[in-house]
Symmetry: C2
Subunit: 235 residues, 2 copies
């Protein structure tokens, strides 16, 4: 039975990626990386999902990326945007049309760090693959969600690990890479992923705010898929 | 003035790499990654070196790689070898001559994780480079100390960061890559690096053991360089 380490944030995408790994026949160990401003609520979601999917091993690793800030998600001095369009307008003004549309919610080198930790974990478990819920469609502004980054990372991981040197490289799998949010929701439903246990909101609290960038994207996905979101919003 | 993030363990190599970055005119921020079994003594050495070299910023980041074990340096169940030759003999027996000489002190994907964290830090500081004391001569058994790994990592970091996408990639510098331990000591002396503050021993305590793999390699380096080690050993 092949085995895999899945990066599980507790959000929609990583949960669908995790359910996909199970469907593909992998024995899954989950890794949740805690960094900066993440909320207890999101961690609880990751634990609930790992439990619902029957994962035997689930590590929650604290990595203090907030030590150096640099993102709305790790730096208390940078405000999390409540409206994507507003944010983009502000960015355009600030950056004076240099063409960059990288959002303030970009966390410096996040997927590089997350994947590196997943590969370290995978190597000790003799796992065949690491799975990440990266998506190049809705997160096209994030450099570390692009296929060319994932390919380059996989090569570095092959060259930089004992497993890779010994000819048994750990595969990097991003099954949602080219799907729209609507298609991700459809896939999650088809796989029976526990979508009702997931948490996408950038804010904490008992219910997702429904207004932040992440909530709006999730709502759009469920609307596109024609599926009712099992998670109730504040608004 | 260019700036750089230097991975500083408190050992000989990273200290010489740090002194090299200073000599090259970089404004340096230091990053020490704490993982698994590392000793307070080593952390103290990193702090002393950072202070002696006048670094304004020095972060110590805890990353619990020991959560999944897999190395003599992170897993309490794996013994740290006191003698490299003995270790290699044992490995040959265990691995039945498959040609692998990767030591038990290899930490799965360590430099991949360390460099990723350094790049994350560097991106927030608009630093031009990250420095690592990796060495392909004495650590030829470690896949993540090879030039081909460092090149592949640099490419992944360029593709996976905002800085790289915007055409201002963070350079990965490993100035000791092709030096022998003796040459590293010579360079350290020439640079005026605070070698007397460094700690190389795998064990804790007030004085290095003088017998572990790392102490023996260090002793050999000072002997080759014809320099007296300012750090007194137990044996």
């Amino acid at each position: 039975m092949p085995s895999a380490v899945v990066l599980l944030s507790g959000g929609l995408d990583s949960t669908v990626a995790a359910a996909y790994a199970v469907e593909e026949g992998y024995e899954v160990s989950a890794l949740t990386v805690q960094y900066g401003q993440r909320h207890e609520r999101e961690l609880q979601a990751a634990e609930d999902v790992a439990s619902a999917l029957g994962f035997e091993e689930h590590h929650v690793l604290d990595v203090g990326l907030s030590a150096w800030g640099g993102s709305a998600l790790t730096d208390p001095d940078v405000e999390v945007p409540l409206d994507r369009e507003e944010e983009e307008e502000e960015e355009e003004e600030e950056e004076e049309g240099d063409g960059s549309t990288i959002p303030v919610t970009y966390v410096p080198a996040r997927n590089l760090v997350f994947l590196s930790l997943a590969v370290s974990f995978a190597e000790t478990r003799e796992a065949n693959a690491v799975f990440i819920g990266a998506n190049a469609v809705d997160y096209s502004g994030y450099p570390d969600c692009r296929p060319e980054f994932l390919d380059a990372f996989a090569k570095a991981a092959t060259l930089g690990t004992k497993r890779g040197v010994e000819g048994d490289a750990i595969q990097v799998q991003a099954p949602l890479l080219r799907l729209s949010k609507g298609e991700i929701v459809e896939k999650g439903v088809a796989l029976g992923a526990p979508l009702g246990l997931t948490w996408s909101c950038y804010e904490g609290g008992s219910r997702p705010c429904g207004r932040c960038d992440s909530c709006r994207l999730r709502k759009k996905g469920f609307e596109e898929a024609g599926v009712e979101d099992p998670v109730p919003y504040q608004v």
